[in-house]
């Protein structure tokens, strides 16, 4: 077929039927407090990595929860695991442990970050 210069772009819809939601269940098994997050963004606002990068923990956490893993490994590399986010969390979420476990799971799922 003649190339008209158009291509089909990736769907921008999160299709929960096709998303892998089991990975997040594994995070929750390790870090039960993950369930308590209400996405207020206090963690992201206080993040030290945020001063130098565009790291957004709340967003990464939510995308992981929805099974949208593309690009997350690179994002998570920006975190220095300082734990400041955990101090401000008003729901007592162990944010640092969530990051640590998401990294391991992504590694196992072969989502490699470019180091």
């Amino acid at each position: 077929m003649k190339d008209l210069g158009f291509s089909i772009s990736q769907s921008r819809t999160i299709d929960l039927d096709k998303s892998d939601l089991s990975a997040y269940r594994r995070v929750v098994e390790k870090v039960p407090s993950a369930k308590l997050c209400l996405m207020c963004g206090a963690c992201t606002a206080t993040c030290t990595a945020r001063n130098h990068t565009d790291f957004n923990f709340r967003k990464v956490h939510l995308l992981f929860r929805r099974g949208q893993f593309e690009g997350l490994a690179e994002e998570l590399d920006k975190c220095m695991l300082c734990g400041k986010c955990r101090l401000v969390c008003n729901r007592g979420v162990n944010t640092r442990a969530i990051i640590y476990n998401m990294r391991i799971i992504l590694e196992n799922l072969n989502y490699k970050s470019i180091k």
Binding site: L36, L38, M39, C40, G41, A42, C43, T44, A45, T46, C47, R50, N56, R58, K59, V88, C89, N90, R91, G92
Partner: protein, 342 residues
């Protein structure tokens, strides 16, 4: 020892409303208030949501009610001891008063959260950080100003300070702060039309009648801005303003902003009297709020005969809810006293 039909503990809206309704039913009521002044937290109120009713009208109405012939009001009478003596309750106060009555109504109310526990928000550290109660007092005297006595250009309101916060041990929602922030921001715009008002929230909870309409009005007529994100850091700027940081969660971007006043919408906790008397009598429930025997069917009764509850000693309530609850408590007590005389 002085005899009465009912001792009402607490001279706020709940205590006064209940005392008045009991007095109208020909019961001899002793009303004890720990402070010099009655009205409780109504004392500092400027206007009431959602209809902007002048709080001084409520105060005069309450004051009038305390003057009923069957009510004896004692000020500066903090209750030290409540105990059961045979079929009666004995109530003793710090100023040496001693009452005995078949029924006691606990209407000892709430206290506001001490914002100093949230150190990262800078209350008690930076002068521009104030509580919603202090802002209400500014509105009352018509003087919204910064610590330097200047007119603020920008005011931020932060919801859920001391509520929905595991770090301070309060998991519950205080219910009134969301709508109160809407009210305060509108009042701020009425007094200073050129000021910019921003409300920071985790969720906006507009569950009462006319609340949603007021929220809408604040956006439509008063240009109040709403940002979904919890402020987690406050820092001073070189010119003595305040930089607040949150994530604008809806745009998924961290956000910072310089403001002149940061108003912390402090939550509701059980008052010290509520906690202490509840402990003595054995009616303490979660978070030291007092516990009735049935939330749905007997919310003014406790597991002790003759010991009743009204108002915010049980949980965070709005003013109309408190007043209605007080009237319900008065009815329960009236029935109880009548059952004793039969």
């Amino acid at each position: 020892m002085n005899k009465a039909d009912v001792v009402v503990i607490g001279g706020g809206p709940a205590g006064i409303e209940a005392a008045y309704n009991l007095a109208r039913d020909n019961h001899k009521v002793v009303l004890v208030e720990k402070e010099e002044e009655i009205f409780g937290h109504m004392q500092t109120a400027y206007t009431l949501f959602p209809n902007f009713q002048d709080a001084s009208e409520i105060r005069s109405s309450l004051l009038q009610k305390t003057k009923h012939g069957n009510i004896t009001l004692y000020n500066n009478a903090e209750v030290t001891q409540v105990s059961r003596e045979n079929d009666f309750w004995r109530v003793q106060t710090i100023n040496g008063l001693d009452f005995i009555a078949p029924a006691v109504l606990l209407a000892s109310g709430f206290k506001t959260f001490d914002a100093r526990y949230k150190e990262e928000l800078g209350y008690g550290i930076y002068k521009g950080v104030i509580t919603s109660v202090e802002f209400e007092e500014m509105l009352k005297v018509g003087k919204i100003q910064t610590a330097n006595g200047e007119k603020p250009r920008r005011i931020a309101f932060l919801n859920c300070v001391g509520s929905r916060d595991e770090k301070v041990g309060n998991h519950y929602c205080s219910r009134v702060c969301c709508i109160n922030a809407v009210k305060l921001s509108i009042e701020a715009k009425k007094q200073l039309p050129e000021v910019e008002a921003y409300c920071f929230y985790m969720d906006i909870r507009m569950s009462g009648q006319f609340y949603e309409e007021l929220y809408r009005k604040s956006q439509e007529d008063f240009d109040v801005n709403y940002i979904r994100g919890r402020i987690s850091e406050v820092a001073p700027t070189f010119d003595n303003r305040l930089q607040v940081k949150c994530e604008d969660t809806l745009s998924q971007t961290p956000l910072k902003m310089t403001v002149d006043l940061l108003v912390l919408m402090i939550g509701i906790e059980a008052s010290e009297g509520t906690a202490r008397i509840g402990e003595q009598v054995g009616v303490n429930g979660e978070y030291n709020f007092s516990k009735s025997i049935s939330l749905h069917t007997a919310d003014n009764k406790t597991k002790h005969r003759g010991f009743f509850l009204a108002g915010t000693c049980k949980r965070p309530l709005t003013v109309p809810e408190t007043m209605a609850d007080a009237r319900a408590a008065a009815l329960e007590i009236d029935l109880y006293l009548k059952s004793l005389s039969q």
